[in-house]
Amino acid sequence: MPLLPLLVALCLSACLDSAPENTAGFWSVPQSEVLDGGPGKDGIPAVDAPQFYQDASGLVMADDELVVAFRFGNDVRAYPHQVLDYHEVVNDTFNNTEVVISYCPLTGSSMVWQGEAVSSNQSFGVSGLLYNSNLILYDRATNSHWSQMLMQSINGTRIHQISTQLVSSEMSWGTWKKLYPSKPVLNFNTGFSRPYGRYPYGSYKDSDATIFPANNSNDERFSAKQRVLGVKVLESFKAYSMANFSSDGITVIADTIGGEPLTVWGSQNLNIAVVFNRLLSDGSLLSFSALAPQAFPALVTDDEGNHWDVFGVAISGPRQGQSLNQPFSFIAYWFAWAAFYPDTQVFEVDQ
C-alpha cells in the first residue's frame, strides 16, 4: 500500500524546494535588531496616488485627532494619522517635486523627506521591517532600506546616505481647522479598504507597553509613550516633553543645542511642537514671542515685526516669504527617541 509513503513524499517535496536567495548585504545597524514586523514588504501599502479633500469641511474627525501638516511653497496639506496608521507612507508630489510623508504608529514619529533623484522612481514603500520598533522604509529605485528615525539608509546600495528632511508639523485636527481651514486634506479614499477611524493598535498609545523591543528601554525620565520633540544638532540631543508647553497658548523657548541658538514653539492645546534656528543666514539673531490666536495662522512674532507660521515661514513683515532653518527634529514617543538617541538631555522648565 503505497499511499503513506506517497503522502510523506508529497510534503517533503513541498518542504525541500530551494530557499530564497540571500540578498541581505551589510546593515549599518545591528542586523539582529532588525525585525520582521509581520505584514511583510508592502503588506502595509503606501498611498501612491493620494487624493485630497478640497478643504477641512470635507472630513469629519474628532478635534483631538492628529494630522501631519506639510508646506511646500504656498501649498499646504494635511495627512491624518487615521490614514497614516494604515499606510505609514504617502508618496505625494508638489510642483513636480516628489516628497514622501512617513509616519510610524509604533514610535509616533512622522517625517517628510524629499525624493532623491537617483532614478525616475523616487517613491518609497513600507519594508515590513522594524528597527527599535520604528518603521524601515525602502526606496523603490534601489530597494535600499531606510531607518525613518535615523533618516538614513541602513542597508543596500544607498547605505549611509542621509535623506533631506523637509519642514512639517504634527498638530491636532482642531488646530488644523483653525490654521488652514481652506487647505487640502488627504482623502480617506486611498484605493484601499481599511477601517479608517478605528485605531489599529488597541491600547498601545495609552500604555507603557511596546510590541517590539527597543534599546535603552529602561530610560524612565519620561513615560514610554510621552510625546516629545526630539532635536539633534551635531552630536548633541535634547528632548522637550509636550508637558513643557502651555496648555493655554504658545510657549516660546530660546535654547542652545550643540552651539546653535534655537527657538522652540510648543502648545499642549494646539498639540504642536517645532524648533527652528534663531540665527539667520544673514547673521541676524532673532528673538521670538508668542502671538494671540487672532493672528492665526501666524503663531509667533520676532523683534523685527515678522509673523511666522508653524512651518517657520514669515507670512508677514520685512522677511515675508523667508524661512527659518530647522535642525533635525521631530515628535516621537519618548521610548523611541531614547532608543535611537540615548545621550539625550531632557529640557527642564527651570533651565
Partner: protein
Amino acid sequence: MKSVWRSILFYSCLLFQCQVLAATCSCAGVPLLNSMQSGSAKSGDWLLAASIERHEINDLYAGSKKINDETHRERRVESLLLEVSHGITSNWSVSSLLSFVKHRRQIGISEGSVSSARGLGDGVVLIKYTPRRLGMVNRFAYSLGVGLRLPLGENTQTQDGLLLSEDMQPGSGAQGYVLWAYAVRSFSAQGLTQAFAGFNASLNGENSRQYQFGNEQNMNIGLAFQSEFPVSLSVALQVRNSQADRRFASTVPNTGGYWLDLMPVVQYKLTQQWALRFSSRLPLHRKLNGALQFTSSEVYTLGVSVQY
C-alpha cells in the same frame, strides 16, 4: 533529485484525483489538537496516520466584517502531520503528533516578494482515558485526555539574515499544556449514525523572546454517518476562541477572536485497516479582535491512516 520529488507529487495528485491540501489554525501555529484523530486506540492497537494540511490565511477582517485586501497578500501554511496512537489498556491510550511546517507569505503588489520558512514544528503528546466505548450495548462513549505541547520545532529561522516574525516560525518555541475531550452517541446498535462532540484547549507558554501565542479553546458538535459502503461522512460545527497573543506580557493587537466553522469530513475505507480521509474547514462567521486581521480563508486536509 527535485524532479523525482516533483514526479512523486504529480502522480500522487493523479492518484488522489483531488487537491492535496492541508490546514492549520489562524494563530499561525499548527493545528495540532484539531488535527488529531478523534478516537482512542483500543488495547494493543496501533494507529498510524499521516496527513497533509493546507491553510490559506488570506481573508481580511475588520471585526466581523470581511473587507477587500488590495495588497493581494497570499499567506499559506502547509503541514505534514504524523500521528501515532497506541492502546495501552482497554481504558488508557497514548497519542503523539509530530508536525513539519512550511510557511509562505507573498505580497502581490510588491512584485511578488516572498518570505518563507519551513522545518520541524511543535509536537503533542496526549494521554487519553476512555472509560466507555461504543458497543452493541453501550450507545454512549467518551474519552478524556491531557497532554503537553512540545516545542520541538525551530523558532529562530531567518531570511536574508533577519529573524522572521513569530507567526512565520515553524515552531512556537514554548511549551504548553493541552486538554482534550470527546464524546459520541450512536443511534443504533450498528452505530451507523452517530452524534459527537469534542473539546480541546491549549494553554501556551512564553518563548525566549517573551512571545506567547494566545490560549485557545475549540468546541465542535456534529453528526457522522456510516453505510454498508466503505464511505463514511461527517459534518460538524466548530467554535474556536483564541485569546490575543502577548509579548512582553502585553497584548499584541489584532490577534485572537472567535471563529465559527463548518467541518465536513469524508472517509473512505480502503481495507479493514487502511483509510483515506479528506476534510475541510469552511468559515461561517468570525468576530476578530482589533481593527484589522488576516484569517483563514480555506483549510483542507488529506490523510491516510492504518490501524492494526
